[in-house]
C-alpha cells in the first residue's frame, strides 16, 4: 500500500467536495479497493470514505413502490430485507460473512466486476442507479468490463429496484471466492421478462434477449429448450472455456426460472 490521505465526511455534499480535488477516490466497503491498494495496483492520493454518510445507508420502499437501497448499505442488510426476496437471496450468497458485512451495493455496481452478482440484479430488474447528479437506467449504466457510465467524481447514492412478480438468481459459484462463474438473474414484470447474465461475457453483464422473448411467451424452463448462446466473446480462463460458460448460461437460466416458480 502506498501512503494516502483519508477523509470521513458525514454528508454527501462534503463527500462530493472532497472528491472534486482530483487524485481522490471514494472508499465504500473496501472489499475490492483495499486489496487493490495492498497489491500496489492503485495509488490514489486521497480516499473519501462513504460509509459514515447516513443518507447513503439504509433500505426503504419509495413512493413508486420501488425498493431503494442506499449505496453504502452492506450486503448483509440487503440480505435481511423481505420486500424483494430474490435480491435478498442474491445478497446472502455474496462472498463470505466478512465480505457481506463490509461490502456495499454502491461499491459493487461502481466496480462492475464481470463476475459480480449485483450487476445481474440491477440489469435484470431494470433498476435505476441514482447518483449525486442524475439518474441512470441500468440499461445505460453497464458499459463494459469494469466500466460504467459514471463520470469522474460522480457518486452513486441509491439504487432503485422495481419489485417483480417473481424472480430468482441462480449462481454457479467459483468456490474459492464465491464470485459467479456464471450467474443468471431472471425477473418477470407486467411489461415482460428480463434475463441478465453475469460471469460469462468478456463485455460484462448482459441481457439475453432470446431467452427474455421465450420466457415472456411461456415462463417455464421448457420454454428455453433449443436456445443456446455462442462461446465467442465469452470469458475463457482456467476455470472454463467460452463454450463451457455459454452452455452454463443456458443451464443456470433454466435453474433460475425453475427457482422463480
Amino acid at each position: 500500500m502506498y501512503a494516502f490521505e483519508l477523509e470521513r465526511p458525514s454528508t454527501l455534499a462534503d463527500a462530493v467536495a472532497a472528491l472534486s480535488g482530483g487524485e481522490a477516490q471514494p472508499l465504500s466497503g473496501g472489499q475490492t479497493l483495499i486489496p487493490t491498494l495492498k497489491q500496489r495496483l492503485a495509488s490514489p492520493g486521497k480516499l473519501v470514505s462513504l460509509t459514515g454518510i447516513k443518507e447513503l445507508r439504509g433500505i426503504r420502499l419509495d413512493d413508486a413502490g420501488q425498493l431503494a437501497v442506499g449505496a453504502a448499505t452492506p450486503h448483509v442488510q440487503v440480505a435481511a430485507q423481505d420486500h424483494y426476496p430474490a435480491l435478498a437471496h442474491l445478497a446472502a450468497n455474496i462472498g463470505d460473512p466478512a465480505v457481506r458485512n463490509r461490502g456495499t451495493i454502491g461499491g459493487s455496481l461502481a466496480n462492475n466486476d464481470p463476475s459480480a452478482c449485483y450487476p445481474a440484479a440491477a440489469l435484470g430488474s431494470g433498476a435505476t442507479i441514482v447518483t449525486n447528479t442524475r439518474e441512470i437506467k441500468a440499461d445505460d449504466y453497464f458499459t463494459g468490463l469494469f466500466d460504467t457510465a459514471l463520470e469522474e467524481g460522480e457518486i452513486i447514492t441509491e439504487v432503485r429496484f422495481p419489485v417483480p412478480r417473481r424472480a430468482a438468481y441462480a449462481k454457479f459459484e467459483q468456490p474459492a471466492s464465491r464470485f459467479a462463474l456464471v450467474g443468471v438473474f431472471v425477473a418477470q414484470y407486467a411489461q415482460g421478462v428480463r434475463v441478465a447474465v453475469t460471469g460469462a461475457s468478456e463485455g460484462g453483464v448482459f441481457r439475453w434477449a432470446e431467452a427474455e422473448k421465450a420466457l415472456a411467451a411461456d415462463f417455464s424452463a421448457d420454454a428455453l429448450s433449443g436456445l443456446a448462446l455462442d462461446g465467442a466473446g465469452m470469458i475463457a480462463d482456467l476455470h472454463g472455456s467460452g463454450a463451457y460458460r455459454a452452455h452454463l448460461t443456458g443451464v443456470m437460466t433454466r435453474r433460475a426460472v425453475a427457482a422463480a416458480g
Binding site: M1, Y2, Q39, R40
Partner: protein, 604 residues
C-alpha cells in the same frame, strides 16, 4: 493404564489451548528490540542477465539502512543440496551453484536480486521499487522436453546441459525388462502428467535473524519443519558458523506440507544481515511471494508401460519420467523422483521385472522439492492408472485384475530394492468391497442414470515407505547427512517428565501424542509429560519432521530414552526398598517388590 488412556487415546490436544485462544507463538509474533525489516526485490522475468543494479536513488529513501545485492555475497557459500544422486553411468548429478542473492543471472520469476533493509516494512518495499535493475531478458525454458533439446537455452551456463541426472532403477533390470515387454501378450501404455502445485501452508514463511556482538552468537527464528537441518545446512555450508555459535528456533509453525523442510536463501540472508548490520533483521513473506519463493511440488511427466502375459499376470513395468527440478536444486529435490519414487514402483503387486528411468531437468521455474508424500503418491498414481487402463483394454474387472496380481507371500522382495515384511492385501480388498458395497454398485448406477446423473467408480491400492531412515541406508542412497533422530528424557524433581525431541510439530499434535507414548511406558498420567521441540538450544540434536518419520524415527528414539530412564528408576526403587533389582516390577506408575506389598510410586 494412565488416566487419559495412553497411546492413541482420543483426547483433547493440549496445543489447541494456545492455538484456539490466539496465544500461539509463531515466528512473525516474535519481535526484537531494534529490529529492521527486509524486502526482497525479485525477478519478474524467468531468465535474464543482470547487466547492472543501480541502488543509489533507493538507498537515499527514508528509512533505508542498507541495500544488499549478489556482490555482497560473493564470499559466502551456496545454498546446498542435501542429496546427491548418482546417474545410470555412475556419474554424480550436475549440481549448480545457488547464491543467496542472484549473481549475474536470474533464473526464475521470484529469484531474489536485491534486498532492502529498512526501519519499516513499508519503507523497505518503497525503496525496492526505486531500485533500477538493467536486465537483458533471455529465452526461457519452462517445458521439460524442450529443455532437453539440443541448443535449448541453458538455465546454468556452466553446466553441460539442463539435464541434472539420468537415473536408472534398478539399472541391472533394464535388459530383462525390455525383453519381458517384447515377449508379452499385452502391453498397456499410459502417458500422464502429475502437475506442479504450490504447497501454500496457512502461515507464510518468516525468518528473523539476530546477532550478539558480545558473544558472537547468531540466532535464526524461522518457520521450519526441522531447525537442526537448517542449523547444519546454513551453518556449515552457507555462512560458515559452527553449530555451537548458531541457534535455530522454529516456534509454532502453521503448516508445512514439505515446503518448510528446506533451507532457503531468505534464512541465510537475515542471519548474514543481522551480523553485518548488528541489528535483528526480519522477513515476512506475503502470500504472493510464497507462490514464487517456496519450493513447489510434483511436476512429473511420465510414460509407463505395463506388460501382461496371456493370463493377465503382470510380467513387467517400465517407466520413463521427466522430473522438474526448477531453476536450482532445493534441499531434497534430487531424492524425490528417485529413491522416494522408484522404490515404490512395485505397488502392491508381484511384477517380476521393473525398471524406472528418471531424467531430472532444470527449467526456468521455481524450484520443486518434496510435497506431501513426495514421490510416493506419484508412483502410486502411475501404477494404479495403468492397471485401470489395462483392465479396460482387456475387458476385465479392475478389482479382479488387482487381486490376481497382489503380493500374497511375505516377506516379498520387490525388483526395486525393497522388501515387504508383512501385509494382507486380499483381506484389505475383501473389507473394502464389503464396506463400499461393490456388489450394490450396478444398481446404484442404474438408479442414478434414471435421474439423469452419472455415477463413477474408482479403486486404488497404496503402499508407502514411511519414516525415512536409517542413516547408513540413506547415506548409501546419496543423503549427505544421517537421518537419525534424538530424544532426551529428563525426570524433574517433582516426577514430571520433560522430553526433548528433534522431531518438530507444525500441526501434527506431537505435544499430545508423544506425551501419551512416554506416559504409557511408565504408567503415569500424560499430563505429567511435557514435550519440548523446535529450538536447537533446548534440543541438542535432531533431524526434524518429514516423510512420516516423526513417530517411526523420533518416537523410537523417545522409547529408547524412556527405557533407559525406567531402568535407572528401577535401580533407585530397588535401593529405596532394599530389594534386588530383578524383583522390581513397574505397573501403573508404581514400582513394587514382587511377592510383597512393598511399593514406591513414581515421583516420590
Amino acid at each position: 493404564m494412565p488416566a487419559d488412556g495412553g497411546i492413541g487415546a482420543a483426547t483433547k490436544r493440549r496445543e489447541d489451548v494456545r492455538f484456539l485462544t490466539g496465544t500461539g507463538n509463531y515466528t512473525d509474533d516474535i519481535n526484537m528490540r531494534g529490529q529492521a525489516y527486509v524486502h526482497f526485490l525479485r525477478s519478474d522475468v524467468a531468465h535474464g542477465r543482470i547487466k547492472g543494479i543501480d541502488t543509489a536513488e533507493a538507498a537515499a529513501m527514508p528509512g533505508v539502512i542498507r541495500i544488499f545485492t549478489g556482490a555482497d555475497f560473493e564470499g559466502v557459500g551456496s545454498i546446498p543440496c542435501g542429496w546427491q544422486v548418482t546417474d545410470r553411468h555412475g556419474q554424480p548429478m550436475q549440481e549448480p551453484a545457488h547464491p543467496v542473492l542472484a549473481q549475474g543471472k536470474v533464473r526464475h520469476v521470484g529469484d531474489p536480486i536485491a534486498a532492502v533493509v529498512a526501519e519499516s516494512r513499508a519503507e523497505a518495499r518503497d525503496a525496492a521499487e526505486a531500485i533500477a535493475v538493467d536486465i537483458e531478458e533471455l529465452p526461457a525454458v519452462v517445458d521439460m522436453k524442450a529443455a532437453l533439446d539440443d541448443g535449448a537455452p541453458k538455465v546454468h551456463d556452466d553446466l553441460t546441459s539442463n539435464l541434472c541426472y539420468d537415473w536408472g532403477f534398478v539399472e541391472d533390470n533394464r535388459e530383462a525388462v525390455d525383453a519381458a515387454i517384447k515377449g508379452a501378450a499385452h502391453v498397456t501404455t499410459l502417458e500422464l502428467v502429475n502437475q506442479r502445485l504450490v504447497a501454500n501452508a496457512m502461515e507464510p514463511r518468516v525468518a528473523l535473524g539476530d546477532y550478539n556482538r558480545a558473544s558472537d552468537d547468531s540466532t535464526l527464528y524461522t518457520t521450519s519443519q526441522n531447525p537442526h537441518v537448517i542449523r547444519l545446512l546454513m551453518g556449515a555450508f552457507v555462512l560458515g558458523i559452527p553449530e555451537h555459535k548458531l541457534r535455530v528456533v522454529s516456534p509454532d509453525v502453521g503448516g508445512g506440507f514439505g515446503s518448510k523442510i528446506f533451507h532457503y536463501a531468505e534464512e541465510a540472508f537475515v542471519t548474514f544481515a543481522a551480523k553485518a548490520l548488528n541489528r535483528p533483521v526480519k522477513w515476512t513473506a506475503s502470500r504472493s511471494e510464497a507462490f514464487i519463493s517456496d519450493a513447489q511440488g510434483r511436476d512429473h511427466v511420465t510414460k509407463i508401460e505395463l506388460a501382461l502375459d496371456a493370463d493377465n499376470n503382470f510380467v513387467a513395468i517400465r517407466t520413463a519420467t521427466l522430473a522438474n527440478m526448477g531453476a536450482y536444486l532445493s534441499t531434497f529435490a534430487p531424492s524425490v523422483p528417485t529413491y522416494l519414487h522408484g522404490t515404490l514402483m512395485a505397488g502392491n503387486y508381484k511384477t517380476p521385472n521393473i525398471y524406472v528411468n528418471v531424467k531430472a531437468v532444470f527449467t526456468n521455474t521455481v524450484p520443486v522439492d518434496a510435497y506431501r508424500g513426495a514421490g510416493r503418491p506419484e508412483a502410486s498414481f502411475q501404477i494404479e492408472r495403468v492397471i485401470d487402463k489395462a483392465a479396460r483394454e482387456l475387458g476385465v474387472d479392475p478389482i479382479a485384475l488387482r487381486r490376481q496380481n497382489f503380493v500374497t507371500e511375505f516377506p516379498y522382495a520387490t525388483p526395486v530394492a525393497v522388501e515387504y515384511d508383512t501385509g494382507d492385501y486380499v483381506a484389505t480388498m475383501d473389507k473394502l468391497e464389503e464396506i463400499a458395497d461393490i456388489k450394490g454398485f450396478a444398481a446404484r448406477r442404474a438408479a442414478s442414470e434414471k435421474r439423469g446423473m452419472l455415477r463413477g467408480f474408482g479403486v486404488n491400492c497404496y503402499i508407502e515407505a514411511c519414516g525415512i531412515a536409517p542413516s547408513a541406508l540413506v547415506g548409501q542412497l546419496g543423503a549427505r547427512a544421517g537421518l537419525y533422530e534424538s530424544a532426551t528424557v529428563r525426570v524433574n524433581a517433582t516426577g514430571g517428565i520433560t522430553v526433548m525431541t528433534g522431531s518438530h510439530s507444525h500441526g501434527q499434535g506431537h505435544e499430545t501424542s508423544f506425551a501419551q507414548v512416554v506416559a504409557e511406558m511408565i504408567g503415569i498420567d500424560a499430563n505429567m509429560v511435557e514435550i519440548v521441540h523446535g529450538d536447537t538450544a533446548k534440543v541438542p540434536m535432531g533431524m526434524g519432521t518429514y516423510g512420516s518419520r516423526s513417530l517411526a524415527v523420533g518416537g523410537s528414539a523417545m522409547v529408547r530414552a524412556t527405557e533407559k530412564i525406567i531402568n535407572k528408576a528401577r535401580k533407585i526403587a530397588a535401593h529405596l526398598m532394599e530389594a534386588s533389582e530383578a524383583d522390581i516390577e513397574l505397573k501403573d506408575g508404581k514400582f513394587s517388590v514382587a511377592g510383597t506389598d512393598k511399593s514406591v510410586a513414581w515421583g516420590t
